[in-house]
Amino acid sequence: MNPLRRLGQLTLDALARLGRMLLFLLHLLPALPLALGRPRLIVQQLYSVGVLSLVIVLVSGGFVGLVLGLQGHNILSNFNATESLGVMVALSLVRELGPVVTALLFAGRAGSALTAEIGLMKATEQLSSMEMMAVDPIRRVIAPRFWAAFIAMPLLAALFSMVGIYGGYFIGVVVLGVDEAAYWSQLVRQVDFDEDTVNGIIKSLVFGFVAAWIALFEGFDARPTSEGVSRATTRTVVNTSLAVLGLDFLLTALMFGNS
């Protein structure tokens, strides 16, 4: 195939994938309220998507907080402003790093697992056999997983931020000797609920939506072979990461751009 034709082919493939993705979402959306009628399925998925992601999210949150504390102390001590360490750590975490890093970890830990699971279900024809039994796989398999990811993301992001703030506290106050009262009081005074915390939660809801959408679509759309499933898993991680980082810029520009 000559290069020009190949380029055209790739473009058309990408466009078709985008179209399928949107159609998939349109199929999924009406199934979402119906899936709420079977909370058991959502709880099961919350376990595999949320509880099993806890360890990686908490440990990463702790380390990110430690690093923020160290770097922040390093920079702020140049300005004799180490009292602002708490503000810096908390705002970085609540506004940006909490939602974003959690979403990236989530894509690697839970998104890839969702894609592989659904891709394999498709490869072993479990999805089509469900259809044969007049069970809608979107409603029975996809929708509960979507809810679980959507619910789990903001909770994980909040835990990440909280652990990170205590990590920064540990390095700043316990190890480097920043005044404890200054750390907390400056933090509480400067972190605004409407502006910072709520926007962080909105971000993580958006990221949860996108991460779940991409992971489930890639699994559903995977070629039903072992190679197809492995490719779909890779695409999930790559596309989710790109989407999250891109959306984060957009959301930040919308939320904090004009202040």
């Binding site: 709880v43 376990y47 300005f79 908390a90 609540v94 909770l155 609920f193 939660i201």
Partner: protein, 153 residues
């Protein structure tokens, strides 16, 4: 059955921990609990120069935050800056000759409005204008003044 019970417990614990984290972030780590009074009233104050004062800058009385800057505008006639201050309703007894000045917390810190109560018997009411104000200290102005004075010597 035992297995599904453990799963329920794990999920319940996860959701509870997440909600606790959200609440801690909301209540402990942001200023939701501070100066969120329905009973606030508004004062305005005119300044020649507000320096780095922004909306949401604190308004302090003897160092205690009693309100926030709600809006900043320009008076179209005098071209002076008008700041509206939302003051906690618990402090309604500010005298009419209260003095408002803009200070900086530390050398590079945020700017805030400090109120100094006078001796008047009558109190400021909602919508009143604080008559006596002192503008922000602009560092460049002081430095240039200092340099001019030095040159004149």
């Amino acid at each position: 059955m035992d297995n599904s019970r453990a799963l329920e417990l794990a999920v319940g614990g996860f959701v509870a921990a997440g909600i606790v984290a959200v609440l801690v972030l909301a209540l402990q780590m942001s200023n939701l609990t501070q100066v969120r009074v329905d009973d606030a009233y508004t004062l305005t104050a005119e300044f020649d120069n507000i320096g780095g004062l922004t909306v949401r800058s604190p308004v302090k009385l003897s160092g205690v935050t009693i309100g926030r800057v709600d809006a900043i505008a320009i008076d179209p006639k005098t071209f002076r800056a008008v700041a509206s201050l939302r003051i906690d309703g618990r402090y309604r007894n500010l005298p009419q000759d209260t003095f408002a000045s803009i200070y900086t917390a530390g050398l590079l810190g945020e700017q805030f409005i400090e109120l100094a109560p006078g001796g008047e018997e009558r109190f400021l009411a909602d919508g009143d204008r604080i008559a006596m104000t002192q503008s922000a200290v602009v560092l460049e102005k002081i430095i240039s003044q200092f340099l001019y004075d030095k040159a004149a010597e």
